[in-house]
Amino acid sequence: MNKIFRNEVPLREPRAVMKLDRMGSMFPTRMSFMRTLLRQLSEKRALINRAVWEIDEDGFGHAVYTINIDDRMYSLVAFTNYLNPEDRTDRVIAEAWDSSYVLYDGVPEIGDIVRLNETVPRQEVGRFTINELVLSRANKSLRLFSHVVEALKKGNQPDKKMVKDIGYLMRTTAVYGNGKFGIADRNKLIDRDILSGPFMAEMLTVWLIRGFTHDLVEHLGGSKLDRNIKSYLGVGNATGLGMAPFLVSHPELLSNWMMARETGLTRVRALQSLTQRQLLRITQLADRVVIHLDEWQVTDEQYQRRIKSLRIEWKKVYENLEFLVAEDQPIHSLVKFSEQFSLDCQELVVAFVLEPFGDLIDGLTCCMTSGEPMPLNPKMSIKELEVLIEERFGWAIEFDFNLRSETAQFWYVSEEKLEPRLGLRYEEQGGELESPLDIARQVKLLRSDLTDNFANVGEFLRKFPAHRSVLRRIQIMDSYPYSEIQDNMISENCRPIDMLRCKLAYFGAAKFDPKSDRWVRVTLAQGAPLFNELDGRDDWWLPVFAA
């Protein structure tokens, strides 16, 4: 795909990278969005101010945090209220929460707070304005929140094992941006420097929520949390299928995320040798990986087996590290060495080798956004289209959609909650209303209708308008090589959790804790700088418990 210069290592092929099982093995990197956000806030020495704290002795009320970024003010407005236990669920379909939040563009006046107090706790049922950038809500961890408060009330610190095992005080159950329920379109942020990057406003919201949860337990407990415990307490997130179709419906954006990371990987693989300082850094990080993997415990038996295998494989990487990094092109050698192991281990090594080389790769994060979607090119000849399909979509042609196993599932939107779902085609009703995530099948259908009778694709589409959507995607692939998940999304083997993990890894989440093949818990901002720690430190990849 790319020309190989001296010492240069080619990009990994999309046909290898864009497989669901590999995407479902990804780890956060220093290019992940939360990490990028906090690095940039730190560079700008952003200051956070708790401007309003109207929280009562039971922990209910509202608070406002302001942050100044590039001479613009943003505010997290947080509301907490009593939640009836029977209303408590972390599913997106819930209708009440312990806390709700909005990221406000500017500093809200009292009238704004009164208005937001009416609407924000109602979430999807409320209507919002272009002054609101992000909408979110979170529930307390029943396991940890009260324990921390009670410990602080007694002048103690919370139990370290519980903190280590759980890792958050609250879990968000949705973080909405880009125009949802009337909030501002993403285009409003296009010239906002830091916040113009992908999901930056959402990540800022989550990070501010994390700080609010720290303040809330200290307020209720009447004493301070130990700094290291506080640092380890991130924000939990429960993510289901709603997130999965995003990667399919934003092909250019997905490609840019992948391209930036893969380009970063080629840069570090091309390094001819390492300095002593870099070698020391790699050793330190390798030690951290061991601890992180040890701390990563899940209840899902299959996933726990994967983690156990990963620990064993990482030990082998660790044992060979000294020799591998002494070779010419040491990072390349290390990556090649990892190819004998599982995808989990291979992707862990990718994230690992990116970490010490911020000077080489951090600048690539500005390429991870995307502008307007690429339009259809109706002038393309049929011959060009055929070549494109052969070169880029061979993976799609290989599936046999006459097999029930290859069409066993279908994506749809549920009438009850207007949320994406995945159904079993031959057991459930509604297959005729499926959402068009069956890209491979669509490519194959289009190809079967191609003939030389058309001057160009515009003419072809006048005869076959049903192929318009997938034809544009095929053209996108010509410019955005990582734009397609190269798997059959309706196969019985399709596991949505792979998509969720990929996207969440890009967000910066770690400690993936699946509750089914389509539902996962994670922790965000664990180990991240606290409000008063935006001082240039940028060393919290794969957080470990340090207390």
Binding site: D90, R127, G182, A184, P378, L461, R521
Partner: protein, 206 residues
Amino acid sequence: MRKDIDYISNWIETFIDKEGTWPVVACSINEMKALISKACIGRGLPSGHAYEMASLASGLMADQVMMGFFIGALYDSYEKPVIHSDNKTLTIDHARFVISGPMAVDALISGAERVNLNNMPWKMLITPLLINAENTYKCFLSFEIVDNFSVILSHSVTRVLPILGDPKPVPLPVIEALEELAKNTYVPSSDISRRLGAGAGLTDTD
């Protein structure tokens, strides 16, 4: 009955009569794109055409009456378009905006000198269509209405199309009409979908 031509004629008549008195909702462009796309698919349009119609959201939102006309075009009866073309001209008889509009733009961008859209109601929607095409393909386009139901689209050497204003709040009847069609894309819940569809069971707490 909603798809019936009489229904939509009455809907439009009421919509126009009540201009300026409808309740309106301040919607984001992205929200309207998503709703238009769902409504188009619910109307039975191919997803690619739904995408093209959704991309008109910003332009449509600049004119509240235009939004009503779009509803008219979306609910209108469909006839299979009859298409003729030679090297320079594409002619579509029984043209319907939501299907023939993107085809017309494709033809102009592919080199056709003009496109004739015959028997096409809701021809005022050509303005946001061509403005969107100009912005997308970086070209200048124009159109001429030759009689009540026919429009000629062609290239222009300068910008002649009007500038659309900023998006305005959307009339509630428009939202309701779009939601009515969007409902056709939703799958009713069943016991199995409630249990397995989202993958989390009926509850999930921590």
